[in-house]
Symmetry: C2
Subunit: 437 residues, 2 copies
């Protein structure tokens, strides 16, 4: 049973397990994944029954107004969702093992070889809300990347998360090489704050949830956090844009899934096309029930536009609202994006090659797009296979992050008694630095 | 003049400069480096004169006991040191440009191509003590990697740092493409604490100084910190070790440069060889004036050994002191290293292949070594060309870090009007995900 009381002990045990995980063969990890998938299939009725306990409690909370109906629907598991869960585990099994890959190798001198080899981070802490399908997904990614994991789910999914971890642990017990204490669920009563203090044992925190959860975590831990708080994405429609294309892309970016982090929030339009373009664009947006806010120029061109204030440029609406600003040129657009954006995903619509290059080079975001919907910012669409999250960090991993965000590297140096003294001073031995790989 | 008063304004201007730096051609950056090198050569007398002002002040501080003589000697610049400084800049110019490299490329579908391209981090904050030669070194690395930089040196080197930045800025003014405000020296009166709050503008902090400086910085900023506080390195001498080789490696690791972060602090010895090995090793260490501390077993084997306590296992002596522990097997050695080490550099001495593999896989450090001095942990010895620092982080960059630690990547997606709607649902278009590079 991996549901335990003391976070520090759990984290310490996970750290010890992580050292052993680091040298597991790919074949054993894939066997572990298969065992998990099979055991979830075998126990699906038990899982659905546990989920019903959570759903009953959640129903009361919804009625009391303490839980939104969208969270309720994300909490619910059925046979179809369990099928997708299982398929997801098999998909991760098929991915290339990110561990123990030789990234580079150099012969420093005879019998002195340096290898840069990928290795797991160690212990990953994942904090997530309601969706219990995060459990097998994160466990699969952790197993494949040889990381231990501490999962901390929301209280509303406690019974479901608990049974999932029990089923996973039972499966892993059938793989004798797989270390104990690698996969852990923290008891929901425990405070997230406790986990955030475990920088001695936890190497990376991945928050999976809303903006306020992510911000709270970023502000309250010394542990590196992989993720994003805001997704304030922009589309800049250049004076050289194909306007029909621009409308099509903008609509998709805003309404295909408005609450997604990669949905567009602010539209910037070159002043030379504003008069022709904006009335059409705004008509189309309004037809799709999008609320439009705009600056003075927009208001002058189209009636009944709500005033966009400074605050709007900093807002991720996460619903069918958009703000529009008219800019004098591409540089003002870029400045606006770098100033107000969240470094997530920003797009230029243009047919002008030079402007594409300017935008792509000067906009400092994880994703810079040309003539394509911002909604493409996603690990599956990028072909990463599985997604750990989308990062707006500037270090480690940026944009949609797959398994490679869960590994780092170590240097292995193989020698034969060499000392640094021998290589020191003018008469010292010289390094070869011959690239092996 | 880049010596300014307000840190926030400086940081903001640096951020704006960083966007422009991102798209500079390699050729322009190399021209900028050459201009800097030439202007330092041209102004060497002025630099030495400014340095003398600092040295006079420092002499007073040394006499009052407020500055150590080793800091004084690091502060001192002469013609030779300036020559090395200039050579270092030319060396960086010769390094491969780390920016704008295509890391990977995938055709998601027809006319929909995704490129993962390296790009600069943005603004690097460097906090360093006394050594003014850090200024041209960091500036060269920043220029080559297209990053803006905020330098914050110690008050004892203020005049030297100031003239160096003036000379560098003058040189950069001759390169019209090079943005203003990219290279900045913060006035020494200003508080480091102010700089550490600038997470909106600074993307990475690199502390270059002692343990207490690094720890203070790590504990007082939200900005990622690249570096290491402790360097508690170990050598484990296995029962299958060549003992002569082991003594040679151990002596080099301890005495070649005892205050270096990659010097060995704790020696672990397999119990089966302790009786033969330790008397020889300790005799050699004592001949080199190394103070030896040891556990009970060591004390039983050799007389006059100071007791090593729990605190010793956690101590970076940074001088000619070493602690020795006898372990029952390789696993106890590994556990000790993972528990008390700093994840810097740890070495096994053995002739047994299986034990090499166990050690290299299970020890969770930036450098894991076989039969070679821990003192090899260094960017120049690794062939990186120039070193930003040595990182014991588990994310972003680990071990000796070269220019690659100053870059990240962005995703560039080039499309032709595609929307996510077209690719959604069972009837939706399918992605190709064909690897281009």
């Amino acid at each position: 049973m991996s549901v335990v009381l003391n976070i520090e002990t759990t984290a310490k045990n996970a750290k010890n397990a992580s050292y052993k995980l680091a040298s597991l063969d790919t074949e054993i990890k894939n066997r572990a994944l298969e065992a998990i998938a099979l055991n979830i299939e075998k126990n699906k009725e038990k899982i659905i029954a546990a989920n019903e306990l959570d759903l009953n409690e959640a129903q009361n909370m919804v009625e009391k107004g303490n839980l939104s109906t969208s969270l309720y629907s994300r909490l619910k598991l059925d046979e179809d969702k369990i099928k997708i869960m299982i398929q997801g585990i098999y998909d991760v099994a098929k991915l290339e093992d990110p561990v123990n890959k030789i990234i580079g190798a150099v012969e420093l001198d005879q019998d002195l070889e340096l290898y840069k080899v990928s290795c797991p981070l160690g212990v990953i802490g994942v904090i997530f809300e309601s969706r219990p399908d995060v459990v097998p997904q994160i466990v699969a990614l952790a197993v494949k990347s040889s990381n231990a994991v501490l999962l901390k789910g929301g209280i509303e999914a406690f019974n479901t998360n608990k049974i999932l971890i029990e089923v996973i642990t039972e499966a892993l017990n059938f793989i004798p090489e797989f270390p104990k204490n690698a996969i852990n669920l923290l008891k929901t009563r425990e405070d997230v704050a406790e986990m955030l203090k475990m920088d001695k044992f936890i190497d990376l925190i991945i928050p999976r949830g809303g903006n306020s959860l992510v911000k709270y975590i970023q502000e309250n831990t010394k542990i590196p956090v992989l993720g994003h708080a805001d997704g304030i994405c922009h589309i800049y429609t250049d004076e050289m844009a194909d306007l029909a294309k621009s409308i099509k892309i903008t609509l998709d970016s805003k309404i295909q899934y408005p609450s997604a982090c990669n949905a567009v929030e602010t539209i910037l339009v070159h002043e030379n096309i504003a008069k022709n373009y904006l009335p059409c664009l705004i008509r189309e947006l309004r037809e799709k029930e999008v609320t439009v806010k705009g600056d003075k120029t927009v208001q002058d061109l189209v009636s009944n536009i709500i005033t966009a204030t400074e605050d709007d440029w900093k807002t991720e609406y996460s619903d069918k609202t958009v703000s529009i600003k008219v800019v004098k040129d591409i540089y003002e657009a870029i400045e606006h994006i770098n100033n107000y954006g969240s470094g997530h995903t920003d797009c230029i619509i243009t047919e002008n090659k030079e402007n594409i290059e300017i935008f792509m080079n000067l906009v400092d975001s994880a994703g810079v797009y040309h003539n394509v919907s911002t909604r493409f910012a996603d690990g599956f669409r990028y072909g990463l296979g599985a997604e750990v999250g989308i990062s707006t960090n500037k270090t480690h991993a940026r944009g949609p992050v797959g398994l490679e965000g869960l590994v780092i590297y170590k240097y292995k140096l193989f020698g034969n008694g060499q000392t640094v003294s021998e290589y020191s001073g003018y008469a010292g031995k010289k390094f070869k630095h011959t690239k092996i790989k």
